[in-house]
Amino acid sequence: MSGGLEIRGLRVVFDGFTAVDGVDLDVRPGDLRFLIGPNGAGKTTLVDAVTGLVRAEGSVRFGGEELLGRSVHRIARSGIGRTFQTATVFEELTVLQNLDIAAGAGRSMWTMLRRRRDVPVPVARALETIGLTDVADSPAGTLAHGQKQWLEIGMLLVQDVRLLLLDEPVAGMSHDERQATGELLERISEERTVVVIEHDMDFLRSFARSVSVLHAGRVLSEGTVTEVQADPRVQEVYLGHAPEVPSRGADDGPDDGDGGAAVGAGAASAGDTAADAAVQEA
């Protein structure tokens, strides 16, 4: 179990509102875990707590080290990186400069005060991996939305994090960009642990190795995509909110494209179908 992420009894309270309410979560090294759940389920807050952005109770260990109580930059230095829902890159700096900064948290004062003479090897490798070598000298602000997300992932790679926490990395991407991102995440997760918050069920079915469903600050269900989608509690939760996991999809298996279409379809009709299924199962 050592080397992975171990969360025990995690609680985050904002002014009396409990956003995360006693979450236990284990992610093995090399996993590609998807965190899903309705809006307000506490997914982003969970990531905020792990990365030190909000105060939390309980225990978060990564590779055996306790993270809670450390400051944001110290947690980052112990090998944990994250992205945000809206891509945040340094827009005025070039792609290369963005990556170089991400690679440099351990640099000495002397190195910092000198100019960058060449492209560091990890930076060149990351440029290759995220496919941005051609635009290395362009300001990051001029990149397309998808490219910015890849740049953020590249920044995590050169930062050499062992745990990547990605908050909706494919939101707003085209179909081809999603496919490319998914394949990128699969490659990355061979050597590192990846946790993805995602609403896109098509994307989830294609790339998730395991799934945790959060609801009202708790873990509702956990398992493979098929297991989770077959879980009646999951179907019930999604009925009361946005019906993002249509029950049809569960039967059709991970390679089905129709399930995704249902996500985009009218909420009422998808909800009705799921409601019927739930009623039958009850």
């Binding site: 980052a76 700096l93 963005n98 900064i101 100019r115």
Partner: protein, 357 residues
Amino acid sequence: MNALKGRAARAWYGFAAGAVLLFAVAPAALSDFRLGLFAKYLCMAMVAVGICLAWGRGGLLTLGQGVFFGLGGYAMAMHLKLADAGPGNLPDFMQLYGTATELPWWWRPFANPAVALAATVLLPVAVAALLGLLVFRRRVKGAYFAILGQALAAAFAIWLVGQQATTGGTNGLTDIQGFFGYDLHDPVNQRMVYFVIAAVLLLVVLLARQLIHSRYGELLVAVRDAEERVRFLGYNPANVKLVAYVVAAGTAGLAGALFVPAVGIISPALVGIVPSIEFVIGAAVGGRASLAGAVLGAVAVAWARTALSEEFPAAWTYFQGLLFVVALAFLPGGLASLPAVVRRRRAAAPVAVGEAA
């Protein structure tokens, strides 16, 4: 890559042109009186170099540079006053107002020229480091940081005025005669002071350029634009900002120290709220993110101040306020950003026409 080389080459030509202007053209073209004024403008430009780094590159609106300018200036002036008075004697103003018959303890170290010279930079640096540590660790930002600077400048000026017996009060330290053994009334020595100031300015510009183009400089811009993101990369933004703030303070201190022999006075009116804002205006008008812009802007605004005050003594303050507002509202990058803005407009114009058609 070519564009980068072109930019570096242009910067070197600009620097060389600046050096020729400072060391050959200005001394030949200007009268002793005008050269003295020019030396004063160069001190303003030196402060602007620090502001360019801290504000332009680091996003720290330093509205309290008067404090650091003053610390440097007073450190230098205290030494010069003691040297003027001669060993064992009190400076003239203390004999005039003072009830004390001996030198206050905190004046004594400044009798030593090496200590005083070091203090002109180290004193502002130490104060800025202490203040910066407190402020940046607590994540004080934006307008709050700017107001803090102003409050500090006000407090410093008020304290100086209140300590009439030991600081010269409202008058400040005036009537400075000599500069390390050279008589400041001699025009030849005044020219020497000018050359020292010009040389130090060029050195400070070189230092700032190195910082701006180093990896640290890139990181500083990153902190300015997305501080939280930098934190998640494993850096402590507080330390990054601290370096820029401290360097800016040291530069301002140096400028204050050199201002004293050039002008012959340092007083609370030169370090309070208004001068602190004036330091920023030059950089804002010229272009705070560009070294050349900040330096030229500071010199231009200081020169315009003299020229306009000679013609319309009352109007300058209004004009100055207007300048600041117009620059920030309509040209946030200052005059240095004008070519880029024009280029962008030109590039955008045909597209718009094409779409309309």
